[in-house]
Amino acid sequence: MGVDFLYPEFEVVRNASRCTNCRLCERQCANEVHSFDAESGVMLADDSKCVNCQRCVAFCPTRALKIVESDCKFRSNANWSDQTIREIYKQANSGGVLLSSMGNPNRLPVYWDRILVNASQVTNPSIDPLREPMETRVFLGKKPARIKRDAQGRLDVRLEPQIELAVPIMFSAMSYGSISYNAHESLARAATELGIMYNTGEGGLHEDFYKYGPNTVVQVASGRFGVHERFLLAGAAIEIKMGQGAKPGIGGHLPGAKIVGDVSRTRMIPEGTDAISPAPHHDIYSIEDLRQLIFSLKEATEYQKPIIVKVAAVHNIAAIASGIARAGADVIAIDGFRGGTGAAPTRIRDNVGIPVELALAAVDRRLRDEGIRNNVSLVVGGSIRSAADVVKAIALGADACYVATAALVALGCRLCRTCQSGKCNWGIATQRPELVKRLDPELGSRRLVNLVSAWRHELMEMMGGMGINSVEALRGNRLMLRGVGMTEKELQILGIAHAGE
């Protein structure tokens, strides 16, 4: 109480006429919001602990609960928002850096929502995906500049290693440690069933999941946690993580509390130690150093694995991507400023980096201008929220999309943005066994398969509407896009015309 008291952000509203005192909410809440007062025989709630994850709401058998945003705010002020004032109190009290989770929630332009897609009328028939083949298969990786033939004139059909995807969607990096064993298993099984990839993130690969190798991208990040020869050989591709959209320019920090048991073994660090990934790779201070790491990894895996270099979308992204392409990467993954995270300094998450739509458009154009677009594939994420975003990203020039937040939402995540607490009631961003077991990998993988299958259907419908029957013919097909409510400059960067043009 006193100067540091902040009225709770959320209020637990319990409908007493419906509540049966079954105490399910109490058992479901790892934040210990709910309790039963035996004396008065009623359920109580400590609003101050509530993060609005809606676990109790979803599980209350009598629909007696709802969580509402508190209306006890500071005097309204367009400059000093309630959030801003609260943060100052917190920092004045602690002297610390503010932490947040998931993607940037602020009111900044979402260009996907200002882009509209074309359809065929009269001069060109639309194609019904229920009647005609509609192809969504893509290959990521370097394409040869010149075809080769043998002495008999037959094509030499050997290719540099490629990632084959049945749908141009991959689950992006989330480490074992930041998310649970069951979440990883759900992703791995779903990727396998879907013919796509999931990504280990920086935390190594759990012994049990080596069997999903053909559908796994293994990640090497600045902390090199869990990296060893078998790990590198286990996946279908290797990703070097240079940056992350949610926190460009800084590293990662998985608190010691999450480094327990298998997480510690998989990361190859002692239990209870903080896993700190440095801001840069300390063997990469320049582009030529990146080239050395790319080729070290290629050497270590005998040139059998495509190398993905993942970078955050920052101001100079086009030139950076060009450098990465010339450094020998097979795939460049660009992560936009709305990308999610298990924990990031709030100021960085909310103020650093640029929208992935603009970064993608600029990179795709730059690589084409330099004539090197064919040497490298482009994958974008941060944030891709729906099949429509996928369609637009591909038409802007992406080969495939990285999806993580949407995958977690499919697993139950309510975007309460408190992953950093490690008390995820949905069994996703936690290592507590009693919470992890709430996520059933069987059901989880089924839901992920459903989600991506649904998106695939929508992608096919939208392509069919445009008269396109293969996703290859959509890639970079910017004529299929129009902008609404954008400035000349924005349209110019996106390389699209305004609606009506």
Binding site: N124, I147, L155, L159, R368, R373, N374, G467, S470, R475
Partner: protein, 364 residues
Amino acid sequence: MEREGQIRIPAGCAIAALVSRDGSKTSGEAITNAMKPMRDRSNGLGGGFAAYGIYPEYKDFYALHLFFDSRDVRKGCEAFLKERFEIVQSEIIPTRKIPEITDEPIIWRYFVAPLQSQLKSAQLDGDEFVSRAVMKINAQMDGAYVFSSGKNMGAFKAVGFPEDVSRFYRLEEYQAYQWTAHGRYPTNTPGWWGGAHPFGLLDYTVVHNGEISSYDANRRFIEMFGYKCTLQTDTEVITYIMDYLLRVQRLTLTETANVIAAPFWSAIEQLSDAEERARLRYLRAVFPSLLITGPFSIVLGFNGGLMALNDRLKLRSMVVGEKDDKVFVASEEAAIRAMEENVENVWSPAGGEPVVVRVKEGAF
């Protein structure tokens, strides 16, 4: 109103082709007759022809056909050509004044050979040198437009119905072993001669009926390799794709067809021949951006033959017929019958199935 190239104009069309496997030559009359029953497929906003074997006396020289907006542009362009080429002959292309064709630009042709010194310093072969010069004129020289640039062949096109275009260019006076023709139905009225078809680069010409939905994906890819799509038409980008795959990548005609009208994955997977499966998979993996989707029927002409091809769903009509040494292709059977009443073996090729006709070696 914006001119073609500043905006993209979809068009429906009629196509026809006639080739003699023996290399025996015919005048432009038959191919002109083919276009008459397909008049409804054009709307008078573009027609054209390509003729192969018409310049035997200059067969070793590139025949450049150009449109000029004015005499000054022509003078400027000629200076550009003289810096790069030996010009052995330059002349006005003979035309006939007819009421159906008006507002013609200045139409010239030049028979040229690249200067050896230029080829050496640019380290290019003749074809690549000519191709780059054509791109330069078309992209950068306002009011000048090269619409034909191959050896011993030529394209003739105008704003008008094809049969009128034929009369205008006096095509009955030319003798060719292969003819292709095009009648255009643009959905807008640009009225620009350069926008008519066939579209050509070197000896590759394309006549095309359709509207491809992959246009911008194809365009943005092919422009990486020095091609400039100045007209924003499907036919232009298809021509450059053909040039890139056939001349630059040295793919065969069948392989080229396997790229632009690739068999569906489901069809590839059903093949019992593992080598064939690997070949088709390779072509799709390497050239995904050159897959052409949406409706098209095209005839690709080149020195010594042609390839007719439909999109893989066969969303446009196209029929083929034969008689003796002759092979006929057209949007409609009626057009073939106008060329040869007693045509035999008329069939509709399946979507994505290339029909390749080659003239006997030494006969062209």
